[in-house]
Amino acid sequence: MVISPSALGWTILLSPLAAACGIQLFGVHRRRLSATLAIGALLVSFASTLLWYTFSSIVTWAVPNPFQLPFEASLSWISLPGLTISFGVLIDQLSLLMALVVTGVGSAIFIYSTAYMADDDAYSRYFGVLSLFAFSMLTIVLATNWIQLFMGWELVGFSSYLLIGHWYAKPSAAEAGKKAFMVNRVADFGFMLGILALWAVLPVDRTFHFQTLEKQLPLLIQTGVVSVAVLPLIGLLLFCGPIGKSAQFPLHVWLPDAMEGPTPVSALIHAATMVAAGVYMLCRTFWLFEIVPSVLTTITWVGAATAFLAACLALVEFDLKRILAYSTLSQLGYMVMALGLGGAVAGMYHLTTHAFFKALLFLAAGSVIHGTHEQDIRKLGGLWHSMRWTSLAFLVGGLALCGFPGLSGFFSKDEILVLAYGHNAPAFWLALVTAGMTAFYTARAWFIAFTGKAHGHGHESPPAMLIPLGVLAFLSIIAGYIGIPHFLGQHGEHHAAWLVPGLSIAVVAVGLLLAWLIYSRGTVSAQQLVQALALPYSFLQRRYYIDEIYMWYVETVQQRWIAGACAWVERVIIIGFLVNGTARLTRRAGHILRLWQTGRVQTYVLGFLLGIVSLLTLALRR
């Protein structure tokens, strides 16, 4: 059997879609069938990706190797004179890596879900939407052009909306889904404009195609056909997309709320893959951002700010999933910052390792929730005793997150810190502090929830949940050693100094130590600390009042003032005054005119006479 590269590529993309359709058409009331379809399809996808990877790197039996990277296969989607939009698969190192993460981590989480969601009524719907998500995500990953990327972009948003609101009966879940979709929509407003503007920047032969743009844009700028002046604006507009999708400050507000969704969803979508799509997009189109350093600076600072501010929020959070959500925000900030510093590889590297350990953390948290039906860490404790495997997994994930030396997170974060050290000192120090805070809040969660006295008793989760945990834990440990940067094309750059790793290890150690002192030893009372820092504490607890401000805008400004004013204009001025007024005027005219009809003959005679007189006057005037 000859496997053609394009068939394999299409398989990666389309098999989850087939599963989604299959579940929607046949599986609505068949739980097992839908789970099987979804997992099977994603595994097929995963296998195809692996095969592609293997063939591209190993196979030498054919010269030239048909699995040469980059590879592109596409279908024409819209083809009109002056506009060609294709839909296809673009396979290169970047997309292969990302597809591996999506399908690999995804498969683990899908399998995990069979157990986690076992009691759910809407089991089939869940898997249907998950498959749809996988398809959408792969659409982004394998996109050959901006429009395809945007389509996937919107579709992941939609699947995310459905999955966050999976338990739609819960008002908070329904609201959270809505909020996530809306915030992303606001960001996509800018994103779409950016795409349009970029398209229009080319005077002829306009295209959305990544590879063509990548080749032509620098030339066009050199020849002066495209003015450099507009590019920063376009870059900023395009960056709006990642701000929303990767939940960067100030549009980060939807991600913590998105934790209303089932935990596997949080793991897959809101930690490992979808939220990383923004970072991926920046990497994919890095040739554009490279041209505009001013935008890169903005990106750096947005990333750094997000990393720091989110870490602060995680310090005071008690909801296990929300702690993880804030840490996701923070890590996404790291990645975005890396991109801003010009480190696409570093960003992708951290994205990959983060996908592993954050998925692991979430799944472990899910396991906890599954076992205890509780996610407030204050009501948890001593889980180490009742849920040993889960705790172990959490520990591995947590340490990787902290950047504990030797684990994957250490390496990838280190890349970013080195980058920052080299290019942007303030950002570096901010990132360093953030790293310490990361260690602190991770350890805080660990000490409160997993050690100490047990509240109630949880039970360990079934193997369907533990096996994925194991796989992900394994990946979290080894991901630093398998040469991801090398695969992405970074060669031979050695850390010039030990200063950065040293500092990083130091702050992590300080963070861990502090957490141990406060939450395990009790040397410093957390209570007193809170009282001493009451003002900043409440400020953090209210999440910088950003939600309140947005709420005020949405409910009061937008809904009550703007929409209300428009509705008032509509009701009173347009309908009441202009339309009904005209109607009233017409009717009134009728009422008045008929008063001429007095019923008295002599009035009529007078009218007759006046009519004739005026006619005669008019006609004979000249």
């Binding site: 990277l69 980059p70 819209i78 009109l80 004179p81 002056g82 506009l83 290169d92 190192q93 970047l94 429009i147 945007f150 389509m151 919107e154 579709l155 939609f158 459905l162 739609y168 009966a169 819960k170 008002p171 329904a174 609201e175 809505k178 979709f181 809306m182 929509r185 407003f189 779409m192 349009l196 229009a200 005077p203 002829v204 032969d205 990544f210 590879q211 063509t212 080749k215 030339l219 066009l220 020849t223 056909v225 994919r284 890095f286 040739w287 490279e290 010009g342 590889v345 992708m348 970074q490 750059e493 809904q559 929409a563 209300g564 004013a565 428009c566 509705a567 509509e570 339309v579 109607a583």
Partner: protein, 532 residues
């Protein structure tokens, strides 16, 4: 000579006559006749779409019977790439509308009689290639709305208090549209008289204007008459207020046709008559039109946001979305016009779906007032699914035809009116706000005890209309090329005739581009690291 347009047009007309002859108690027979009639039209429409030869373009499947020779009036039917798509839209909406109308239990015979007349009129407009018959069918489509809304409609209530009675709604609609038609009629007659061609035949007028164009002052004077007259039904801000209220008061199947198709008559008429016959006049006025479109989009969106009645919300959203259609027309580029026509199609299906859904919800719960609803996804899983789909299609989610259409409008219009396009893209955000709120408020949330008796659609037959509409939306959304090919075959010549400069407008860069090296294999795109 082709009998296809005749089949499409006469099937519902004969159906109406047959229904008039049937006894008034034989509901089942009446319904079957209607299904048959609209089904035949649908088959005809599909056949027309399938057999329209896009490379050849122009008017095809023509039927021409001289009608009033002394005035140059002919019964001229035919389709081009634009109208064939709209015929298909109407056939789909009509067929599903007839199925949805099974919910009507009162005065069935009269209902279907008027309904089929309405359908006939709309088909007539899309198929007519003669100004007289165009107007003839246009008016004919308006009038049946009066009894349809007046008899079978429902009042718009708020807190149980009637805000707009159905009598008010239907009277306003009918009078408003008639007034619009009357304004357009002045323009049409003026056009006819001043053309000097002595014919009402649109293709012949087009040819006539190629050789002897109408004077500039005349074009400038006639265009606003046609635009406002037809714009009222489009509905153009600020002459739109008949439409949301009319939608809200109408029975659901009528709202489907009304919002789905009837409003497109206006934009279609603007393309078919105002643009194609008064190109220079159009060029002068279109920037103003674009400004009005922005009002449509933004203002309509915000008003929709403030509504609490499901149908009113969708009604205002329709007027907001028709802003995109008009904007696409105003841009006067092939892409934008393609987008406008495709959006007519997409929005028609989407809004028909939405009204059908609201109709079901209203039939079951007897309320459309948002604060009273909630949690219906428990009782109505199928309807809720379709509801989410409709909301997403409306907010332009990729995969639905609306996305493609809006995208084309944006792309096509970007060079012409960037500011308007920015507002348009923002309108998509507004749409998402109220559509999500609608879905959230109606379907999500805890199960409400008052709605225990509420029933979902059970049989496949009852689900058929929804399935048809959703599949059509998805099909076109995923694979728009077949329809776009048809639309483009007709819209491009139209625009190029209007703006002969468009093709030549782009200056020098071709030469620069030619100097570019040929594409060559390229290293991995992500391999860049570090700063220059």
């Amino acid at each position: 000579m082709s009998c296809l347009p005749l089949l499409i047009l006469l099937a519902p007309a004969l159906g109406a006559i047959a229904i008039a002859a049937v006894g008034s108690t034989r509901h089942a027979l009446v319904r079957r006749i209607s299904v048959l009639a609209t089904g035949l039209s649908l088959i005809g429409a599909l056949w027309a779409v399938a057999t329209y030869d896009a490379p050849t373009g122009g008017y095809q499947h023509e039927v021409l019977v001289p009608w009033i020779r002394s005035l140059g009036i002919g019964f001229h039917l035919g389709v081009d790439g634009i109208s064939v798509v709209l015929v298909l839209l109407h056939a789909l909406c009509a067929f599903t509308g007839v199925l949805i109308s099974y919910a009507i239990k009162d005065r069935v015979k009269e209902y279907y009689l008027f309904y089929l007349l309405l359908i006939t009129g709309v088909f007539g407009v899309f198929l007519s290639l003669d100004l007289f018959f165009f107007y003839f069918f246009y008016e004919m489509a308006v009038i049946p709305m009066y009894p349809l809304i007046g008899i079978w409609g429902s009042d718009v209530k708020e807190h149980g208090v009637v805000r707009f009675s159905k009598e008010y709604a239907t009277m306003k609609l009918t009078i408003y549209l008639t007034l619009g038609a009357a304004v357009a009629l002045i323009g049409l007659l003026w056009l006819y008289v001043s053309s000097g061609a002595g014919t009402f035949d649109i293709p012949r007028l087009q040819q006539h204007f190629v050789t002897s164009p109408l004077g500039m002052p005349l074009q400038r004077a006639i265009f606003p008459l046609l635009f406002i007259g037809f714009g009222i039904i489009a509905p153009m801000w600020p002459l739109h207020s008949w439409s949301p209220i009319g939608h809200a008061a109408a029975p659901s199947a009528v709202s489907m046709l009304h919002a789905g198709v009837l409003m497109k008559l206006g934009s279609y008429a603007i393309i078919r008559i105002a643009l194609s016959l008064l190109p220079e006049g159009a060029q002068m006025w279109l920037p103003w039109v674009a400004a009005i479109c922005v009002m449509n989009i933004i203002y309509g969106g915000f008003v929709a946001m403030a509504q609490k009645d499901l149908k009113l919300t969708i009604g205002y959203s329709s007027s907001s979305h028709m802003g995109y259609v008009l904007l696409g027309i105003a841009c006067l580029t092939p892409l934008a016009l393609d987008g406008a026509v495709l959006l007519m199609f997409a929005h028609g299906l989407m809004t028909a779906l939405a009204f059908a859904l609201v109709g079901h919800v209203y039939d079951q719960t007897h309320t459309r007032y948002l604060p009273d609803l909630g949690g219906l996804a428990h009782q109505l899983p199928f309807i809720a699914t379709c509801g989410v789909i409709a909301a997403m299609a409306s907010s332009g989610l990729p995969g639905f035809a609306n996305f493609v259409a809006e995208l084309l409008v944006f792309l096509g219009g970007w060079d012409r009116y960037p500011a308007a396009i920015v507002c348009g893209v923002f309108g998509v955000v507004i749409t998402a706000v109220y559509m999500l709120r609608l879905v959230r408020g109606t379907f999500f949330g805890p199960r409400k005890p008052v709605f225990t008796h509420v029933q979902d659609t059970r049989t496949l037959f009852a689900r058929l209309p929804y399935v048809i509409l959703v599949s059509a939306l998805l099909f076109v959304g995923c694979w728009p090329q077949p329809l776009l090919r048809l639309i483009d075959a007709s819209s491009r010549p139209l625009v190029e005739r209007i703006r002969p400069s468009v093709a030549l407008a782009k200056p020098t860069p071709e030469r620069t581009l030619r100097r570019l090296p040929p594409p060559r294999p390229h290293p991995a795109p992500s391999g860049r690291q570090g700063h220059p």
